[in-house]
Amino acid sequence: MRPKFELLDKELIERILEEAFQLIQEPGVRVAPYVVDLLREAGANVEGDIARIPQALARKALDSVPREFWLYDRSGKPAVHYGGDNVHFDPGSSCLNILDPETQLPRPAMSADLVRLVQVAEMLPQFAAQSTAMVCNDVPQEIGDWYRLLLVLWYSEKPVVTGAFSAASLHTLLDLLALESGGVDALRQRPRAIFDVCPSPPLNWSEFASQNMVDLARAGVPAEIVSMPLAGATAPVTLVGSIVQHAAECISGITIHQLAQPGAPIVWGGAPAIFDMRSGKTPMGAIETAMLDVGCAQVGKYLGLPTHAYMVAGDGRVIDAQVEMESGMSTVLGALAGINMISGAGMLDFLACHSIEKLVIDAEAVASAQRLIEGVQTPTQTLATAMFAQTGLHGDFLKLKDTRALFRKEQHFPSQIIDRGLPSMGEDAGILGRARQRVEELLASYQRKEIAPEREQSMVAFALREGKAVGLAGLPGIVHEQLVADK
């Protein structure tokens, strides 16, 4: 039996959906001019920038969403399976700061930091996908979104969770992906990346978000809605009220998306949080935030849709007991909820900061959660009596063939980050020291696999051309013969 965690019963989910369908009609949804005609022609009532979406129209859109789809790795092999109760993890996205590996103080993230993070995440099987985890402060802001994608594509073979920073730059990211995949059709057939698109709470599909939804649908590249109601601030204070708002934002987004291209892949996702009424912060590590994530995902699963959530992130500002307690709890809950893509590993300080040391610690929590959802297996004919028949009351199970044959499946073996009292642990009892050592080991064992030469060349030429337009000299974080030749 696969262990499962649910917060809502069927009756409550029906009520949530009923109110969500009401909300997209009254007060309706704010939309951008880019999608007005699309909605109007389909029968929505649009006045000014407010669209009122009839339930039947939204239901039809929900019906045309694919129940499952794959993201592919660089070689074109299916690697991430959205749909059902499949669970995958990826690092958190778009962080501006990193905890400096030496000082453990936050500072602006640079290309070299993203490269290190990607290389470490590449070596950790716990992460099925990469993310464009950091904004590189050493490249001009205008190209920040595609440049980080370039670095991830360059150093990783895994699928990528990414996103554009503007309506126009989406096409630059798609162009880059098409170069890497070997053409627009190849990208559509075997998408390597999925794009996060964020509505603004409450119920607002801005110009940027509206346009991204439509353009992604038409490009056939998967979209992931990241709806983020803040309970008590930009959404109802009750958890259930925020779950309703999340549902309404997702349903209205899916309607826009499916009207642009029925059957295009899209994910019911989000980064909801409670709003702390003392600090005004949005704690990602709060248990109520995890409850929102689980509840929102459960509504999406009830509709049969692929799901996403932002978990595994903590709010402590350094690597300490708080941040890892928070991360550990939400990791386990996310996995038990069967959420298809769980983003957020490595992040701390209310998503303001990334840490590669935290990423490797979080990977241990992820591995434990992955073990947990494998559940209690029954690999032997009798559960225990046959083994007792061999040992009697001596209790020397260590000698049994069954023990030797099965212990590797029954037990998960954490890396040396987790103190299990091994002699080789040495004197260093601090987890930060062990995490640093693990990062160094993973980096040392990382070896970049080259992209097919002609694709690699076209990516470099593309990046040089686009970079030059905004005054970027060279390509920070990338070593390539073309760059040497250029100089």
Binding site: F275, M277, R278, G280
Partner: protein, 217 residues
């Protein structure tokens, strides 16, 4: 009066204001000795983590209710409420996030600043026009997104263009904003949260009066 603010009871606050005026209490006395101490208590309790935001919003509402009664009387007498400073607040162009800015506005008001909130998606020119109209001491610019943060620079440029920059202090804030960014764009200060925004505003007012003294000397 003080308790009506702490309780966040706008009806009680305005009723007490009317009673006070009926009993011949000077409006300025009612403000300074009645209501302002309540707002101070609220600000202090909030800083200590003993007061919650919805309660503080209600306190600000109660303060507004009292002022709605008292301010017209104050005007009739030709008096003005002494202000800690005049602040123009807004979220940058292209950005519609305003929770942080509302908190800053509420807390600044609680600490005696006169705050004019321009709302969200505000172009630099509008900041400059309002600052000029009100002879503002401080302009506060908020941004939540990396992409809209750069428009904070546009506000400073608009103030320069309007010839106001030497008279107006600029403070910036928002999730992606850092001290480094504030320095880079030539802002006068950066605050990481609403409470430090109050401390910063006070500090900037101090700098302003220093430079005014220096100019006069």
């Amino acid at each position: 009066m003080r308790q009506s603010i702490i309780d966040g009871a706008p009806e009680t606050a305005s009723e007490l204001a009317r009673q006070a005026l009926g009993n011949g209490v000077a409006p300025l006395d009612a403000i300074n000795h009645g209501y302002v101490p309540g707002m101070h208590d609220v600000g202090e309790q909030f800083a200590r983590g003993q007061m919650f935001l919805p309660d503080m919003m209600a306190s600000a509402e109660a303060m507004r209710a009292a002022m709605d009664v008292l301010e017209p009387e104050l005007k009739k007498l030709g008096e003005e409420r002494p202000m800690a400073g005049v602040v123009v607040l807004g979220t940058t162009k292209g950005d519609i996030h305003e929770i942080g800015k509302i908190l800053v506005g509420t807390l600044l008001t609680a600490h005696g600043f006169q705050v004019h909130d321009l709302g969200v998606d505000v172009a630099g020119e509008r900041f400059a026009a309002k600052a000029s109209e009100l002879e503002a001491d401080i302009v506060g610019v908020s941004a939540l997104l990396t992409t809209t943060m750069r428009n904070q620079k546009g506000v400073i440029e608009a103030l320069e263009k309007a010839g106001l920059r030497s008279r107006v202090k600029v403070m910036v804030g928002g999730a992606p904003v850092s001290r480094r960014w504030a320095e880079e764009i030539g802002a006068d200060g950066y605050a990481k949260d609403a409470m430090s925004a109050v401390a910063l505003a006070r500090e900037l007012m101090g700098q302003k009066s220093q430079s005014t003294i220096a100019e006069k000397a």
